[in-house]
Amino acid sequence: MIEKHKKPTRFQRLRNWDSLKLLKYAVIGFFALFLMIPLLSVFIVSFTGEPVNLFGSFVNPEILSTNIERLQNASFEHYANLFSSGSVYLSALNNSLLLSILVSVIVIVMCLPIAYAFARTAMPFKKTLAALCTMPIIVPTFISAAGFIIMFGRTGWVTHVFNTMLGTEGAIFNVYSMLGIILVQVFFFFPFALWPMVAAFKIADLSVEEASRNLGAKSWSTMVFVTLPLALPGMISSALLIFTVSFSDFGTPIILAPDGLNLIVVQAYREISGFFNWAGASILTVIMVIVAAIFFWLQRLATKGKDYGTVSGKPKKVKLNAKKAVTLPLFTYTSLVVLLPVLTVFSVFIQSIATTWGRDLLPRGFTLDHYATIFTRSTDNIMNSIILASGALVISVIVATLVSYFVVRQNATKLDFIASIPLVVPGIALGIAFIQTFNTAPLQLTGTAFLLIVAYAIRRMPYMIRSTMGSMMAIRSDIEEASVNLGASRLLTLTTIVGPLMLPGIVAGSILVFVTVIKETSVTILLAPSEWAPMSLMVFQNILRGQMYTASAMAILIIGVVLILQLVANRLTKNSLY
């Protein structure tokens, strides 16, 4: 019955060749070129100790033979040096681990009462406090660090108030120290942990608690033995998240770490930009990625399969604790915690409109000159930021839309995995990998705005994908089939049907990309050519030069832009935190 199939001619095969398939290879190529190969070459360099030009090996046999020679000299020597006692790298790793562990433990302990207050009590001014408890994460850390200097530095106003009150001399504590870094990170990263913990407290099964109380347990023992253990997975996962964030943070340590304090991100930065030490920078990069990956994996493990397991279909009305004896202390405590970040930003603001300020509670006078300065002399930086951020946005939108399409519709799990790798690559690590890979011909891109844009796009890709994937999943597949049935190719369907339907997710995601690119420092400092210096780099350089007034004005501008865009994005996705 079945007739022998006629083989389709070459022309037919070409015509039926799915244009989407080509796009899929293009996307995979993009990730290979700008993510996998840079990471691979850093890994190789960490053994060879000398730069390996992977792209060169493909086009130039001479380079290939040099590379092979270098590969033959590869050894564990550099790693052995790392673990020998007294090595700079080892102390950098130890210090970074210590910093991140301390920060995550302190954050969790500090957030416990606040999370409980938001989830389970009728604390007064809850909405205002919730907004204030979200604000810190939108402030770039190098600006928070600068704010700390304005407050607690030797000439800071808090130091002044403290000294006048107690009649003492000198700083309360040295901001340029481990303590200073810890404080900045704790008070500006805590929202990352707070909101997941609030969620964990909210969904831990209330009926179990009721049962406990019903069996005669006092409310405090219910809290300790029932509520806390139920919220524990949420807390552990938050702690691990804070660890990763703190470990890869570059803004705080680069401003506040004193010469004697070695931290892995700062050390890596110095190795590459100060000494051009390829081996050292690569080893530190490999270690950073491994540590971040381990903690990221642990965090997944802590939340995996749990979904806080006790969510039942029946929504239960949470009975909020409204006892004044509970809510008032919680309110006071929460206000005190948010007071510090609020004052920090406020100090930056005052600095930006001060004529001279130092060794006093208030500035001598107020002026808008600094803003006039940045809007006349630094318009280039503002334009650069906009152009770079827009470029990164365009790349992320296209790649993320395609990735979510392939992952959701064609179940491309490997692509999903590759696209989420940037989550575990700290900015400094990506910057170092890029410099090493694109330093020489045939793909000499270091020092171009293009490479910087690609680096931004890669770094923000996982977040963009999360945003687009959500709206992709909401589109039923038969809508696409209908379009194909009506004569449109898969590619045209993607442009005319899928794209427009995904628009809200794409817009929200791209605003967030824009925001984070404007805030970004680590990749910027490593990769930005001077003629392309964006706002964040200008602030950073001015802080280092001690030009705090213009730096503050620009910082306030950044915060303002970020705040407005973030609000727009939240409105679009309608995701409220409380």
């Binding site: 039926n16 038969d478 809508i479 209908a482 049935n485 009506l486 004569g487 045209l492 005319t496 049907i497």
Partner: protein, 369 residues
């Protein structure tokens, strides 16, 4: 317009066979229903014809053209989806215009292509050409929705959405119209109206139509011919009358209409003993031995008094149910249960649980399967 021929269609999902060799011969202009329980492969068959599934083996022809290697968007089959799958970001007019605009985009002059693409992205970017506008409005008129052309599809009722989906499929003048359970999302009353609408439009245009459904009533009332499917195979292809009157297997008999199906022993070719309980005569001729017997409930007559004629048996009512315009009795005859359906008319005697009655089963109503 065109016929549809399917030869030895096999569809394999990794290890699980979904279709095990399906043969169909659908004539031009025919209204053809694929009927079967869920998971029988009827939707898969349709999706293979539409080109949404890669076929493992076999051939599909639309008209004279073998379409195995033709991409889904070049097959020219209009499909109406179960969920309608209307484009939520387009209004009614744009939904229906989609296929024509896409056609212009691929085939027109360069200026036309650019304009078509612009219109697909937003209706603000240009007006549709007159000819296209007229075609779309004609299609909307066919489904009586021309007055709602500028509405958003979200503002329409289920029945209206259904009609937009139909107009959208028809406007491209497809060779075949495919409908996947198109009525299952409508309420019963609307379903009956839509049945008539669809059938009328199909007759007017004379388009070859393949209709997938699990509802035998729907298939029987609309289709010219029906293929009953089970476990990836076609069990019987026939007209509704044939299917009802001469089902080939107990499965078909049971699926199409309600039925009494019994294990029976054939005595001397013309008499059967049912369930070892009672003996009836039959027209059907078969060899002695074991057989399956089908008696349609509405073929059985209820007698008030005993009659000496052939095929009259006595029974006792165990349950009586009102069933739409019919009354249904479950009657115990010995240890066998016979279901009887009688049209309700004023003045006929109604029996209650426990009542005795006599049943007359006409010989031609005793079918041997």
């Amino acid at each position: 317009m065109g016929s549809v021929t399917v030869k030895g269609l096999v569809k394999q999902y990794s290890d699980v066979p979904a279709l095990k060799g399906v043969d169909l011969n659908i004539r031009e202009g025919e209204f053809y229903a694929l009927l079967g329980p869920s998971g029988c492969g009827k939707t898969t068959t349709m999706r293979c014809i539409a080109g949404f599934e890669d076929i493992t083996e076999g051939d599909i022809y639309i008209g004279a053209q073998r379409v195995n290697d033709v991409a889904a968007n070049r097959r020219n089959c209009g499909m109406v989806f179960q969920s309608y799958a209307l484009f939520p970001h387009y209004n009614v007019f744009e939904n229906v215009a989609y296929s024509l605009t896409v056609r212009d985009l691929y085939r027109g002059s360069y200026g036309k292509r650019v304009k078509s693409f612009a219109r697909l992205m937003s209706k603000k970017l240009g007006k549709p050409p007159k000819e296209l506008y007229q075609k779309v409005m004609d299609a909307l008129q066919t489904v009586e929705l021309d007055h709602l052309a500028e509405r958003g599809v979200g503002e329409l009722s289920g029945g209206q959405q259904q009609r937009v989906a139909l107009a959208r499929a028809l406007v491209m003048e497809p060779a075949v119209l495919l409908m996947d359970e198109p009525l299952s999302n409508l309420d019963k009353k609307l379903r009956n109206t839509m049945r008539t609408t669809i059938r009328t439009i199909q007759q007017e245009i004379g388009i070859t139509t393949i209709f997938v459904t699990h509802d035998q009533e729907e298939a029987m009332s609309m289709a010219d011919r029906i293929a009953v499917m089970k476990d990836g195979e076609i069990v019987q292809q026939a007209t509704p009358t044939e299917l009802y009157g001469k089902p080939l297997t107990p499965f078909v008999a049971d699926f199409v209409g309600s039925s009494n199906i019994y294990d029976a022993t054939v005595i001397d070719g013309r008499q059967v003993k049912i369930n070892d309980q009672f003996v009836v005569h039959t027209n059907g001729v078969t060899e002695n031995g074991e057989a399956k017997v089908l008696i349609r409930p509405e073929g059985i007559k209820i007698l008030r008094e005993h009659s000496e004629s052939r095929n009259v048996i006595e029974g006792k009512v165990t349950m009586s149910t009102y069933f739409g315009p019919n009354i249904r009795y479950d009657v115990n005859v010995g240890e066998a249960t016979v279901v009887v359906e009688q049209e309700f008319e004023p003045g006929i005697p109604v029996y209650d649980q426990g009542d005795h009655l006599f049943l007359h089963i006409p010989e031609e109503r005793v079918l041997l399967l």
